[in-house]
């Protein structure tokens, strides 16, 4: 009988979810919409040819060589060559350039005499990506020009060309980007944010539905009915998860598919955990719209607590523990490692068991808290068939 009640509740809940415009929009359509909306600004993935200025006080063949090399760099575009540092600064305020290099008077003469010849690169530290691109670009350009000068000097001193080249930089570092080989920005942000979108839309949609039931006095129900409801919510969550893992990651060409079976196991733990969380929120609020009011803003702190954008090691120790309250923390951790890094299931066992435990403990609390009051006497309570 309990099994029949569970199956009926599953069917009824799914039917209600499809009938209720608000819940349908939030639970089914919103994840698909955000799957296109959120990656939109990052479509170009990498920053190229950032506009910069060169303040040339030297006016020598060397300074002109630096300008040429800078303009040829894939990171930089020389938007301005000026003899006045103040005008470069003004251009930076206006947002016309994002950094500049200052070539001092007597740069070439100092180089030829072997005196220190620093080139000061000023960047806009308020924008991390610009800062990085301008620094990397100018460092490479000046390094190349500098190497040319030095190799010429060394060969002039009689060293062989090969030795002169190797001796310049005895320790060479080559960087290999793993798991996100193009270093794309969207490839880094969206796969993690996808789990937050899935959590927030499902959670608020469920809380909305539960709030509606509470208003109608049919929220309380036996455990078997609650099981059917949670399974129905999880079915919807599973659908959204498959849309992201199977379709949107592929459509946007993000790193994906590292461990598809593992990702499926993750969804089977993640969707129930989020569903239970949504039902608990709705049972507490008992109001159809209030879940949106109290939960919308949480996306922002949740994103930066989850550890993909800001290193966990730098969070205060208390927050390092508290952040696990949100299913998305374990979800993102497991999803990045399964989908993007292709880790074996055993490596994410911790996160997956945490999600499973969350779902089970949350369900137990929910079924007990929202059990029928005085079974059989109160009108409006849903009883197992």
């Amino acid at each position: 009988m309990a099994a029949r009640g569970c199956a009926a509740a599953w069917r009824d809940t799914l039917a209600e979810l499809l009938r209720d415009k608000g819940a349908l929009l939030l639970i089914v359509l919103a994840p698909v919409f955000y799957g296109f909306f959120y990656p939109w600004p990052y479509a170009t993935e990498v920053l190229q040819r950032v506009p910069v200025a060169i303040v040339d006080l030297d006016h020598s063949s060397l300074s002109r060589q630096i300008v040429r090399y800078a303009d040829a760099s894939p990171d930089l575009r020389v938007a301005m060559v000026t003899g006045d540092e103040e005008s470069a600064r003004q251009a930076m305020w206006r947002g016309e350039i994002e950094g500049y290099a200052l070539l001092t008077r007597d740069l070439r003469r100092n180089v030829l005499r072997g005196r220190p010849a620093p080139v000061v690169v000023s960047t806009n530290g308020s924008y991390a990506l610009y800062n990085k691109a301008v620094m990397t670009g100018f460092t490479a350009v000046i390094g190349t020009v500098s190497a040319g000068v030095e190799i010429a000097q060394r060969t002039a001193r009689g060293q062989g060309r090969a030795q002169a080249m190797a001796g310049r930089s005895p320790v060479g570092v080559s960087a290999v980007a793993l798991y996100n080989p193009t270093g794309g920005y969207g490839s880094y942000v969206v796969p993690a944010v996808a789990l937050i979108i899935m959590q927030q839309t499902l959670l608020m949609g469920i809380a909305m539905l539960a709030g509606t039931w509470a208003e109608a006095g049919r929220l309380r129900a036996p455990a078997s009915v609650w099981l059917g409801r949670v399974l129905a919510f999880s079915t919807a969550g599973l659908f959204a998860g498959l849309v992201y893992f199977g379709w949107i990651f592929w459509l946007q060409d993000y790193p994906r598919g590292g461990n598809p079976l593992g990702a499926l196991v993750l969804l089977l733990c993640y969707a129930p955990a989020v569903s239970v969380a949504g039902a608990l929120l709705g049972a507490w609020l008992k109001d159809r719209e209030q879940a949106l009011q109290v939960w919308l803003f949480t996306s922002l702190p949740i994103a930066f607590l989850s550890g993909f954008a800001w290193p966990v090691e730098s969070l205060p120790p208390v927050l390092q523990a508290v952040r696990w309250i949100f299913p998305s923390t374990a979800g993102i951790d497991a999803s990045l490692r399964l989908n993007q890094m292709g880790a074996p299931l055993a490596d994410v066992a911790g996160s997956l068991s945490w999600l499973a435990a969350w779902a089970l403990a949350g369900f137990a609390a929910l079924a007990w808290w929202m059990r029928p009051r005085d079974p059989g006497t109160l009108r409006g309570d849903v009883r197992s068939a």
């Binding site: 170009t44 960047t123 530290g125 570092v173 793993l178 942000v189 803003f297 930066f304 890094m341």
Partner: protein, 424 residues
């Protein structure tokens, strides 16, 4: 400005006298205050919840600059020089050697388990190659799925390699008999020295926390505006609200016919509470992040505070307009989610505006947060003259006023059509 001008057959005695807008404002504010006192959860959403959320954001980034990020080292060379490199990596403030692995496969497994962000692999003949005068190779495998961390680790490893390089080269030149002084000077003919003009230490507390707090208040503001007005439509209490505020009577169906002036005053009285609450939180956060944390921004802090208060007013009126235009609390809150929650992603603070596709950039430029945050960066970090930020200073309050006028105009229509209240 006569509230009683409308045709109101059921006017009570109170509504017969002419209303002044300040009286309407006061009564609307009084009615909203009484409601908030009776509904602590709603009061919480414009007072202590925003305060705690803002505190949480600051606390998250209070470390400022990430340090001691765990990496692994795979040393196939086992030489004095490779051990020196490991010691230098360990000494770099940004890094911590969490694992020493025998093989790359082992280290990568550690990365997949999440123990480390990067692996520094030192090749077998590292030391011999360097002694021969060739280049010794070090490979840094970094987890590019963690973009910020990858960048920080890469920078630190490169700095360590450059330091070691310089040391090795100087030693070699001195061995060759070049005078020590000449060696020190000419080891690199042209040396780039970096200078981040604004936010020189690349402090994330000043960069991310300062940007995320207004983004959070933006979400809370539009939500609060949508809630305060949309709730009255949902609960079919628009008539009661406007009647209490303006003294206008209701027609038999419950509708109210009022002029735009009293409608504006009734809206302002209601929305004054979320504006006061969120602005107080925003101001406190601004002062704490700057003076409270010993950061003295180069631009004008008072003007940023004014702009922030105007930006919050704009966010709240956006919510009110959404509720009145859709006549649905649920839809208005969903719109608040679509417009404000991804505003940070579109703002250019993470991925620059110039690199976005044209459509996304157009959307970003239509969002008020994009403009507010540029102003804040100009004033708090870049120290730009006020003139550079002037357009935004003007547009922010003008936008809020225009939206408030639009809301008042919409409210007149909504008030007159009680049949369309109560939508869920």
């Amino acid at each position: 400005m006569s509230a009683a001008a409308g045709p109101s057959p059921h006017t009570g005695g109170k509504s017969a006298k002419r209303e002044v807008p300040s009286g309407v404002f006061r009564r609307a504010a009084g009615r909203e205050a009484a409601w908030l006192r009776r509904h602590p959860r709603e009061l919480a959403m414009i007072s202590w919840v925003p305060l705690l959320a803002v505190l949480l954001l600051w606390w998250m980034f209070s470390a400022g600059i990430p340090t001691r990020l765990p990496i692994a080292i795979v040393d196939d060379d086992h030489s004095a020089l490779s051990r020196q490199l490991a010691r230098m990596l360990e000494a770099a403030p940004g890094l911590r050697i969490a694992r020493r692995d025998a093989s790359l496969a082992e280290a990568r497994a550690g990365m997949e388990r999440g123990d480390i962000y990067a692996v520094v692999a030192i090749e077998r003949d590292f030391s011999r190659d360097i002694k021969r005068g060739a280049s010794g190779h070090v490979t840094l495998y970094h987890n590019a799925q963690f973009y910020t961390v990858s960048g920080l680790v890469l920078r630190d490893v490169q700095t360590v390699a450059m330091t070691l390089s310089a040391g090795v080269e100087m030693a070699a030149r001195i061995r060759r008999g070049e005078p020590a002084q000449a060696v020190a000077v000419s080891s690199e003919p042209i040396r780039p020295s970096s200078l981040a003009l604004f936010n020189p230490s690349l402090n994330y507390e000043q960069f991310l926390a300062a940007a995320l707090i207004p983004a959070l208040l933006h979400i809370l503001g539009m939500t609060a505006g949508a809630w305060a007005v949309g709730r009255e439509i949902r609960d079919r209490t628009v008539g009661a609200w406007l009647a209490a505020a303006t003294g206008a009577g209701t027609d038999p169906a419950g509708g109210v016919c009022i002029a735009a002036g009293p409608a504006l005053a009734a809206l302002a009285g209601k929305l004054a509470w979320p504006w006061a609450g969120l602005s107080a939180v925003g101001l406190a956060a601004l002062l704490w992040l700057t003076w409270g944390r010993g950061w003295h921004p180069p631009g004008s802090l008072p003007w940023v505070a004014v702009a922030l208060a105007a930006f919050i007013a704009l966010s709240i009126t956006m919510g009110a307009v959404a509720a009145l235009a859709t006549r649905s609390l649920r839809t208005a809150l969903s719109l608040a989610g679509v417009v404000t929650a991804p505003a940070f992603a579109f703002s250019g603070m993470g991925f620059p505006l110039a690199a976005m596709p044209a459509g996304a950039r157009a959307w970003a430029l239509a969002l008020p947060y994009t403009h507010y945050i540029r102003l804040q960066v100009e004033q708090l970090q870049m120290g730009a003259p006020l003139g550079h930020s002037l357009p935004t200073f003007v547009l922010m309050p003008v936008g809020a006023v225009l939206l408030a006028l639009a809301a008042a105009w919409l409210l007149r229509g909504v008030a007159a059509e009680p049949a369309r209240w109560g939508g869920r």
